[in-house]
Amino acid sequence: MSMPRPAVSVIALAVVMATGSAFAETPNLGKPIDEADITAWDISILPDGTGLPKGSGTSAQGMAIFAEKCASCHGENAKGGPAAALVDDRPLAGISAANKTIKNFWPYATTVFDFIRRAMPFQSPRSLTDDEVYALTAYILAQNKLIGESETMNEETLPKVKMPNRDNFIIRFPDRI
């Protein structure tokens, strides 16, 4: 139980060093909150799965949800409509972003879950349950043959999905990170 104290002083030192000054005086008017207070807002997910919620879903469940809530924009079977195709077999060729697909470009499957949960459906974001988001993610991944038809997506399985293009990226300016 002696851990917290050294940790605090390390934090203080880090702040001093990072800002190049001793604790400058601020009005200090931020209202302290608990992480528990902002659970509903905290929808950040890291590629290792950190932040993924409880829940699960399968491609079969996702197919029904997709037909009801997504197909009007993304087309039947997610092959494209007024909004982008989500199931697409085209290869990555040339430099045009039009050729990027989930299958040939997206490096992490967690991003599929994250974007659906925060932004979809376009007209009513944040209206899907976490189970529904897992099911839609499973449907899109399975239709793209990135997972098997019967695989269940949850906080354990989703981060383990290996996306084909994962290792094909170059950090542009490593010194800036």
Binding site: V15, A18, G30, I95, Y108, A119
Partner: protein
């Protein structure tokens, strides 16, 4: 008077050509009277017509009580054409862009009504009294701030450009699109932003040394989120509250946005409501897909972030016609996400010869710098170009260099598309003997 009379002789050298096709010494701009005196003496001055002019009678507006003053003034009704262009005027359920008309404004500051915007889920109608900003994650004390509490914090102002990573994307076309500078380069603007340094708020929360990134998230319907290195957060990041002196425009992130000077627009998260400090980037869709740029070798850049050194001529430019040979001022904007603009060279002969343009003060770091260059057009075909250097020695690439590194498309793209990003090569305006201006590659 004697001094006045002497000036033309002293400035005679200033109207000498400094590069091919009629580029004149930039110092001529310092003594504009002398420039035109010189011009007349060389036969290119304005022709004074002997034709009967309109009689000088009072116009109607000089004979009546004018209009009342509005509470919030807007430009003259005669300036309606000075407007942004909209990518999605019917508000269909997709993203929307509005582009700045660089060819219809001058100076370096973009008026708020003309600042470019891109929104991915419409413009949220945010009640500022209910808006909250939370900073949490790898901090010592998670804190919530309101607009009122932020107003008590020390504020800073800085002028900086904001540029969409996809600005100038039509230039990836294998042949030049015949479009205005607004259509080609309208997704960049420059404003004075005022707010609280993010590092100040992070002093209040404390930072766990494990934090290498923050995830910024907006209160808009896509809950747009981007990962930002802590290095940038502690450098010059700001929670911006004011834009050119007034509250941020709704389309630009009202009531508060993240401002990351010199970094691609999408990272400057608008309607900012949450900052979470984390160890790894989130690989949100915008960073891992949209703002990762395909390269000719099949790989893709990740975390490009920086808007590199760039310039283009805004006047004259595509859409304008030179009415007659004579003296013109070439002018444009230059900027770099790395720092100050060091110099801008201009060419009137398609890059065969170059001469330095005058840089209008102030030349600010990561801000628009206006350059100006006197030019005497002799009526023959010309190709106008500009090329900028920044204080770190970065130089705007030629098109040949750029295409060799980044490639080009196989076919002409739609002008509103974003086939690729971070284009910063030279823009060329070809002028024919009739004075018509085309977009050319040179």
């Amino acid at each position: 008077m004697s001094q006045h009379r002497r000036r033309p002789r002293n400035n005679q050298i200033s109207v000498e050509a400094v590069a091919g096709n009629g580029l004149l010494d930039r110092r001529a701009l310092l003594g504009r009277g002398a420039l035109f005196a010189g011009a007349v003496s060389t036969g290119f001055g304005p022709v004074i017509s002997g034709a009967a002019a309109e009689p000088f009678l009072d116009d109607p507006w000089s004979l009546e009580f004018g209009d009342p003053m509005p509470l919030y003034q807007v430009p003259s009704a005669f300036e309606k054409k000075v407007a942004r262009t909209l990518s999605n005027p019917n508000h269909e359920p997709r993203n929307s862009h509005a582009r700045t008309p660089h060819h219809l404004v001058d100076g370096t500051m973009t008026p708020n009504g003309l600042h470019f915007t891109i929104n991915h889920g419409g413009v949220p109608n945010i009640d500022p009294d209910k808006h909250r900003l939370v900073i949490h994650g790898l901090v010592k004390r998670p804190l919530m701030f309101t607009l009122d509490t932020l107003a008590r914090y020390p504020m800073v102002s800085r002028v900086t450009f904001l540029e969409c990573g996809g600005n100038s994307a039509p230039m990836f076309s294998p042949e030049p699109l015949q479009e205005t500078v607004q259509a080609l380069h309208g997704l960049v603007s420059c404003a004075e932003w005022t707010g609280v340094r993010l590092s100040t708020l992070l002093e209040d929360t404390g930072v766990d040394p494990r934090a290498k990134w923050l995830i910024a998230e907006g209160a808009d319907s896509p809950h747009l989120s981007r990962s930002v290195p802590m290095k940038k957060a502690m450098d010059d990041a700001m929670i911006a509250l004011y834009q050119n002196g007034e509250r941020i425009m709704p389309g630009n992130g009202y009531p508060m946005r993240l401002l990351l000077p010199g970094y691609e627009g999408n990272m400057n998260v608008k309607f900012l409501r949450r900052i979470k400090l984390v160890e790894e980037a989130a690989m949100s869709m915008y960073e891992s897909r949209t703002y990762s740029q395909l390269l000719p070798n099949g790989k893709a850049y990740r975390f490009y972030f920086l808007q590199e050194v760039k310039s283009y001529i805004t006047n004259p430019s595509h859409g304008a016609t030179l009415k007659a040979p004579g003296l013109y001022e070439i002018s444009g904007i230059a900027y770099s996400g790395t720092g100050r603009i060091e110099k801008v060279l201009v060419s009137a002969d398609g890059g065969q010869s170059w001469a330095p343009a005058a840089l209008q003060e102030p030349v600010l770091s990561k801000a628009f710098t206006r350059f100006r260059m006197p030019w005497r057009w002799d009526g023959s075909p010309a190709i106008l170009q500009s090329r900028a250097w920044d204080e770190a020695g970065n130089v705007q690439p030629t098109r040949e260099q750029f295409v060799a590194a980044r490639g080009e498309l196989k076919a002409k793209p739609p002008v509103l598309g974003f086939p690729n990003q971070h284009y910063n090569s030279i823009t060329s305006w070809g002028i024919d003997s009739k004075g018509e201006i085309k977009h050319v590659y040179a």
